[in-house]
Symmetry: C2
Subunit: 245 residues, 2 copies
Amino acid sequence: MSKREAKPLNTRSRGQTALVVKTLGRKIASAELRPGDTLPVEQDLADSLQVGRNSLREAIKILSAKGMISTAPRSGTKVRPPEDWNMLDPDLLSWHADPKIATPEFLLSLTETRRIIEPEASRLAARRATREDVARILSAYERMEQFEETEVDLDADIQFHTSILTATHNPILANFRHCIITFLNAHFRYADKDVMTTASNLAMHRKIAWAIAAGKEQDAFDATAELLEVNRGKIESEIETLKDQ
Amino acid sequence: MSKREAKPLNTRSRGQTALVVKTLGRKIASAELRPGDTLPVEQDLADSLQVGRNSLREAIKILSAKGMISTAPRSGTKVRPPEDWNMLDPDLLSWHADPKIATPEFLLSLTETRRIIEPEASRLAARRATREDVARILSAYERMEQFEETEVDLDADIQFHTSILTATHNPILANFRHCIITFLNAHFRYADKDVMTTASNLAMHRKIAWAIAAGKEQDAFDATAELLEVNRGKIESEIETLKDQ
DNA sequence: TCATACTAATTATCCTACTAATGCGCAATC
DNA sequence: GATTGCGCATTAGTAGGATAATTAGTATGA
């Protein structure tokens, strides 16, 4: 029953192509390969990565589908500028959230986006949630309440927020769940889990769930905004801590 | 100088792979291929599309990078459910916006997302825009003001809104420009361009640009919210018209 | 100076062969 | 009769070579 929200992405698998995607993708995300850089010609790159040309080419195609590189005969394979990347791609987000790569700016962009999206999403959820949607949200909340083990807590937290996004019945908004998943996963690594924080955190989630279940749109909005505001404060102080180190 | 915002996407090109991506992608987006459906085995599909197996495979990899299909040895290539698709992918959006495919629900999802993102984006732009950002926004507005030819108008409109997103200096928010581009392109086909609408439209854009340039955050928010609210009304009535037909 | 044709470098495509993973059915076992 | 384990057949994955298509850069000529 503790299955992850993150579906078995094809990139997760351990094939040659997936490996190359991850290798090159992380190099680009970490700016080891900079925008405008030209990659070695196919055969050389394939040789140096010790894969066949086909596997390399398929990896290249995947990265180009994510907007990270472009190819053209004669000019070669080039790294595209970050503004062209599909930042909501689950893989891209996970590469960015890697502790060795993640910048404070990126984490702030994530929270900022959450603060914009999620309160309105809660409002819409309060308006449109079906019985099933409400059940999912409440069940996630109960799981958060029940367990204190950190691992389960994180899963339930993710489930809680994604259920709300789903309840908006807006497929574009629902795609933001990857931001939340990425953020919570990253945050989980840094956050200090003192009991006080956990208790008030739980209370705020409860308020959100209740408001949505009761169809109180403005309450749902306010409660979510409050939760994220508190989160923002925590994040900013954590980032300060990171910077000092 | 009238170059399009839409960059030369690799998928735009006319290669075999790009063609297959488009063909299959549109079939999936239009639900001609339904979630869970299994595609024919590689060789058969390649034959029926009259391309080599490699080109087909590369197309498959691109679509799987967009979250639309999944592959596994022995089980075959399957269409994934819409909630797994990267809805902010430019190609995916353009396929959805196709008149033959676009549903009213999808257009409403787009406007709804815009109404959530853009007012807050304008607020952030008012707070953070650099001189260059402001210059871009004002220049786009001037272009809107200057020309009445519809083609140029659309470009300038797109430029106006994307400039604001860029001015937030939040790379995740900036990715929403594809929603705007898609929406405006789709809207452009249906909208009735009467002078009155254009004039008030222009005035609202002017108010937004002014507020951002002046750093008046709340004004920028309000003006953008107003613009999108008016737009929403128009869209909804247009959708009603579509439904009647 | 500009236009035009040529050349060479690089990706794109196709093919053939082989490898690896795994769903399914059959048989052995409890 | 149900369950488990095993092998086979099917399917995607990997590899590498040959050829085509594209085009940046260069040379040529008006």
